[in-house]
Subunit: 420 residues, 2 copies
Amino acid sequence: MNAETDQNTTALRQAGEAARAAARILARSPRSQRDDALRAAANALRANASDILAANERDVAASTATAAFRDRLMLNPARLGSMAKGLEDIAELPDPLGRVLADWTRPNGLRIRRMATPIGVIGMIYESRPNVGADAAGLCLKSGNAVILRGGSESFQSAGAINRAIVAGLRTANLPEAVVQIAPTADRSFVAAMLAGAGLIDLIIPRGGKSLVERVQAEARVPVLAHAEGLCHTYIHAKADPEMARRVLANAKMRRTGICGATETLLIDAAIAPSLLPVLIADLRELGCDFRADARARAIVPDLPAANTEDFDTEWLDAMLSVAVVDGVDAALAHITRHGSEHTEAIVTEDEEAAVQFLNGVDSAVVMWNASTQFCDGGEFGFGAEIGIATGRIHARGPVGLEQLTTYRYQLFGTGQVRP
Amino acid sequence: MNAETDQNTTALRQAGEAARAAARILARSPRSQRDDALRAAANALRANASDILAANERDVAASTATAAFRDRLMLNPARLGSMAKGLEDIAELPDPLGRVLADWTRPNGLRIRRMATPIGVIGMIYESRPNVGADAAGLCLKSGNAVILRGGSESFQSAGAINRAIVAGLRTANLPEAVVQIAPTADRSFVAAMLAGAGLIDLIIPRGGKSLVERVQAEARVPVLAHAEGLCHTYIHAKADPEMARRVLANAKMRRTGICGATETLLIDAAIAPSLLPVLIADLRELGCDFRADARARAIVPDLPAANTEDFDTEWLDAMLSVAVVDGVDAALAHITRHGSEHTEAIVTEDEEAAVQFLNGVDSAVVMWNASTQFCDGGEFGFGAEIGIATGRIHARGPVGLEQLTTYRYQLFGTGQVRP
């Protein structure tokens, strides 16, 4: 263990212990106090706009990354305004705490109540996107969780300036400042300390590229709510309505290509492909999409580039679509089982029997009938806001909003019962 | 990587892939088929009783462990009968799959349904207690999960004989045999392969002593539903009914001392301790309990042995009770926060205000008012059966029954919606 690692372990311990103490107070705070803090933080973001934008300019100026990367890092008054508005929107959402999830009485008179309660201390590890940190802070605060935010090192100045505003909001509402903390250094070894922080951090939420999430999953000694890749499929069944198929596929692929709910692979039924595939390809070409197609698709649309074996396992996050022709629902399901990431899949069909077979046969977090895979989103689900899309199998799957940031505990009400 | 490790990694891969394929079929099986398998397995356990008991005799004969250990390992006709009955009882429980957990329609007409679904492949790591494996197999089968069972190496022959009966049940019901598998070897390195089995195993459930659970938590690269220690407190408040306090405490401590819901520490309010503590001590002494008491308790009952600093952090699992005198609910909460394991705590009081303060202030999986901590049990909760008591903070807390062995996914029903 070198000196830097040692130092970061100590820093994480201090942050974690402060977070734990803050979380205990936050967990018992009334909704109004948490909402006040969110609104005050939004005001502080606006009041400190010039400081925040100046800090962000320093980050952007120091960055040597790609233009796309720097665009995600960059703040401007409009983006800062959305960030503040985001916190105010979270304040308007229903309180996820104190919900009675179940309530029953046993034959011996013992009443058992399952109540929603905060998880505790959350460690959020994300890339250099300042808005992700602000959203995560707002969602954690509202759901009664303390959070330690570790954004990409290129956003270190921005994260600090934003955090000062959020802490000002906490102070205004008389909540502990340690409810929202940021990594005290840009050292990567602080991430390692977080991942080793069993007992200090209750849940790590990684959000970012595949390599970030995979590193977290491989190294964490703390439970992880993974936000890994979305290799989403849209399957156009033989009995699809052609116009609906065109509309849904164009949206699923091209509305935004960089989000995890974007369709990456088109599966089209052999029975409808000869008539429909050329139209779908033409639609998407007009929107700027390129393709990697299997031999059966290329037999129908000969100028499609050929797919290699890895293409069907690739999350493009770009204007690129893998295309395969399949024979019926079973073949579509087999393709998805082999190549999918259990994120979101859709079928387009007018045939209810086929739809039900698909809905029951796909084991992804989200499966859709006649809708765009881009609906896999906390806002579109009505959650108001989301911290990400979970791709693991326990605790929460799909969009993670306020409810998914809670856990539960039992309260038992007795009259002196003893166990026989 | 040595040859044994290599071999076990290969064995785990084979088991995991077979389990995955079996889980897919099981997940879509109707309730009746799963229940038939459970009943047929119960019959096979009875029909093969002599083989199973003979295998168990070989295990017991080979064991050099303590008498208590060998007692947990040992089967007899009555215990085998309970094991079979346990599977039949699970068959009677409601189906945890296909439950509609939520169902709503968005303003755009998109209907969203959250459905209970199996977790997938579960890895169960437990000690040399053959009945734990049979119960776990039954609960996993019913909840649509494939399971790989790795019991203590001393129970290897017993586990094999029991597994042959369960597999016979699966075969009778025409379900894949790989739904329930046991570790193919008694090598400890198979456990390491399970813990490294990301992608093959979806959830590890460790059940056993503290060292086993801690090893699993430290090494696992797979999500863990930990079943760690239960350092449970019973707090006798100043306004407790003395007779109720005597009855509840005696049960909480002494009904069974070896279960995780047994009370390990008595906190008694200073206001009631002078009159009540001597009575409580006398009651428990009569039941064979010994004590480790703080100075304030010893000032009231001078012949109590003195507690050292570690005693309040010790899960006795024995006829031993730590005793401390505290000043009011806040002091009780502070003691529990410092020494507790977030398992189960109880308050005995006639004062509703104090009870509410305690119920809201304790962040354990289970908190009780006027009841014995030994009620922390899946059966007592009405779950019918349990695989254990979860002590982590995500996915499930407290007793883990069939519902807690499920996760969820979303089904969306559209009419061609696209995202704006």
